[in-house]
Symmetry: C2
Subunit: 480 residues, 2 copies
């Protein structure tokens, strides 16, 4: 898609969302009225008001940037979302489809006829098509591929051949290439003939006759250097470049670290095959942090907040089921000590404190570690040092807070031995929490899994079962 | 600081970190040896090896981009970090100080003499100085301000006058400004005279004689249009611009939404006073998502993973203390029902299941809502709809999984009434979790607080106390 000059947002997005919602409500109110008074003489008047409201809504939407329409679609429940979608989809459905999240896109595509999808997709670039292909009906994709020229088709195929998290799946093909043996003056004239430059063009790619990348010429250098100079004199010979099978998250971190705007993607022979741009990388950084948050809470994937109850259930069941099993195991641990609890019912009241504080402390540790891992700051080389530090923190927390709660237990139940058991159990469970808070994400990474995956559910499972076992075990030994 | 042409990373960052660590270890090993064999004849040989290792390390570090050195400093424990810092700080301490996180910067500054800090700071731009000012010793800042010219001093003061989360604190002052009544040819000649353009210059700012922003001329348009044309014909009149007192997160979202690389900042009279660039916005997006993760787990602020035990304790105590209180309350709820537990000890084993599943489910809900709030998708207008949806999900989860666990309870304890109480309690606690999962973050926002703040601790508090109360209450009524 060609880039549109962005309009200045006069009001905040939230304001505009509120206006759209208000217009929608008026629209619906009138529709209800019209429906009730069908066949009566007010019909025409209501129909007029109705059309006026719709026209105002349409005008409002036409004024908005596609990204803003996408935002509004995201923030609306399904029914309202589809009303808006009907109003905008004729014009710029393609742009908007590319802006919305996967979950919302699915609901929009479900509302479109095949020929509408086809029309929208025809406006797209090869890399954009490849992004959407997996979500489009199979015969639409088939028909679409036939309308493309050979180069485009090849590009879509190539983009589709990479995993979602590889550089190849995120690159676009809008490179401006030049030769190294021409003057900057020639380059400037060449650019003028192009009439338009692709978005995010901060550098031109210098290639030889075989398409092998020789360097990059930044636009900044092009502008400040003498036009008589040759490209080869001015270009950077050794630019940051990526391979299509590299991990996209690593590329995003490189963009962040080196403040890149665009970067070439080359195959293993050094041939230029595409480019990465900062906008894709920003989306990736955002998605990565979000999936970290969601994964830690045991949510499988991005869930549109207005998703149907059924879709939400599917998203949440996997980890709830895991939690059910772990909770049951914790319950069986308690079951082992029913005899002790019968003798000293205070144990039942105190045991959730040991488990709860352990869970909280373990969650703090695991969050720290998962975050450091996402930033590549944790390697296996420093595991033992991290464990020592976390054990130190837990030991102090256990003695201090465990001591406090031990005193409270003594005051409540008038038993100093119960207080001591409480303090000891808290300390031991916090040490367990620290150890597992480091080891669980490390182990997941060694197994090639996402360290954030259900981290919270797993650490809680350990601190619950562990906490009950330690506390009730100590109590059975020393208090019975 | 002027921008450096980035070098192509030949190896992954992790590899380079490993190499540095290895060199450091060799360095230290030799140091130990030298120390032990002091005065012996091997001394000279060891000293030689030592110097060779240090030289190799120094070479390695000199090859690295400042951002990569910063990464390595972040990933090393304090002692090693300072060894590396000694090796690099003479040259490019300023660049590196700007790249590292706040927590690590503090440790580096503590290791520097005032005159070293002063030398580093003298290389910095006004906006960079303002970023660091709060962390520098007071007399260094004072001395620094005196060395600046009037305009620079004014800029530092202005940047310091804004809150950390306002646009004014993040803007820089490296704008290239032009007039609207000149030809593109003149602009091109003017740029050539500048010799160098600031980083992230994708557009020039068109201002009138009073400095009021009239429009922006994108470099892309400058390049493809006829040099005879006037700036006014080609520029965009209505660019996205920001005010210095706007919320920086909103600006970051606008950058993401409209794919901006740089944007003008204007005061309330429309006068151009600075600009925002995508690199600052990317950092902000990253920080924002990170603080969301940390806040949900009840961690106060960014904690360097190698922070001292004492610093870690301070970071984690606030929410641990809150958790201690809530756990104690949950324990007192159980205390209310000690009589029932004494009669039926199975209750003690089953009650953590009700609380645990409620906590997990509530965490899923609250994570969804906090995330949607961070993306501005939740307004008070759709609260009731969200609550209805979450209640629906919980009702089904409660009946299904509560039913399963009810059957298990029946099989274990051979009491169908216990099974029914279990199912009912699970369902009610999941409904409570859903309700509070929506209401807690909404209430925090209404009170002007961060919705993620200790969200996890709070929802768990509710589902623990609530779960125990519901389960033990129902059991006391129907089973006793």
């Amino acid at each position: 898609m060609t880039e549109v000059e962005t309009k200045k947002p006069q009001e905040s997005l939230q304001d505009r969302l509120a206006q759209v919602v208000e217009l929608l409500q008026r629209h619906r109110l009138v529709e209800d009225l019209t429906h009730r008074q069908e066949g009566q003489h007010q019909d025409r008047v209501e129909g007029l008001v109705h059309r006026q409201n719709l026209a105002e809504l349409q005008r409002k939407l036409d004024d908005l940037h596609s990204a803003d329409v996408a935002y509004i679609l995201e923030a609306l429940p399904l029914e309202e979302r589809l009303t808006i979608w009907q109003l905008v989809k004729a014009d710029r459905d393609g742009d908007i489809l590319l802006e919305v999240s996967d979950a919302v896109r699915e609901t929009l595509l479900a509302d479109m006829e095949d020929h509408e999808i086809l029309a929208a997709a025809k406006e797209m670039d090869a890399d954009e098509l490849a992004d959407l292909a997996s979500e489009l009906p199979r015969d639409v994709v088939h028909e679409l591929m036939e309308t493309l020229d050979a180069q485009q088709r090849e590009r879509v195929r190539s983009a589709l051949s990479y995993e979602e998290d590889q550089v190849g799946a995120l690159m676009d093909f809008e490179m401006v290439t030049i030769r190294e043996d021409v003057s900057l003056e020639v380059v400037l004239r060449y650019l003028r003939r192009l009439k338009e430059l692709p978005g995010h063009t901060d550098k031109l790619f210098v290639v030889d006759y075989d398409g092998v990348l020789k360097g990059v010429l930044s636009i900044k250098r092009l502008l400040v250097n003498d036009p008589e100079k040759q490209v080869a004199e001015v270009m950077a010979n050794d630019p940051v470049s990526f391979h299509p099978d590299e991990d996209a998250y690593d590329a995003a971190q490189a963009f962040e670290r080196y403040d890149l705007i665009s970067a070439p993607v080359v195959d293993k022979n050094g041939k230029l095959i595409g480019r990465l741009t900062i906008d894709e990388m920003v989306d990736l950084i955002r998605e990565e942090s979000e999936s970290e948050v969601l994964n830690m809470a045991g949510l499988r994937e991005e869930e549109d907040i207005f998703a149907s109850v059924w879709k939400s259930l599917r998203n949440r069941w996997a980890w709830l089921a895991v939690n059910l099993v772990t909770a049951f195991l914790a319950s069986r641990v308690i079951g082992l000590f029913e005899g002790s609890i019968e003798k000293l019912v205070a144990l039942a009241a105190l045991m959730p404190i040991v488990a709860g504080i352990g869970g909280n402390s373990g969650n703090q540790t695991i969050t720290m570690i998962v975050r450091a891992m996402a930033l590549d700051q944790v390697s296996t080389g420093n595991t033992s040092r991290l464990i020592r530090k976390e054990l130190g923190v837990s030991l102090i927390n256990g003695l201090v807070w465990g001591g406090v709660i031990g005193i409270v237990a003594y005051l409540l139940y008038d038993s100093w031995s119960l207080g001591v058991v409480m303090t000891a159990a808290m300390t031991l469970n916090l040490l367990l929490a620290a150890l597992m808070g480091v080891l669980i994400p490390m182990t997941l990474v060694r197994l090639g899994r996402d360290p954030a995956m259900g981290a919270s559910v797993m650490i809680t499972a350990v601190t619950d079962s562990g906490g009950f076992f330690i506390f009730l075990g100590l109590a059975s030994i020393f208090l019975m």
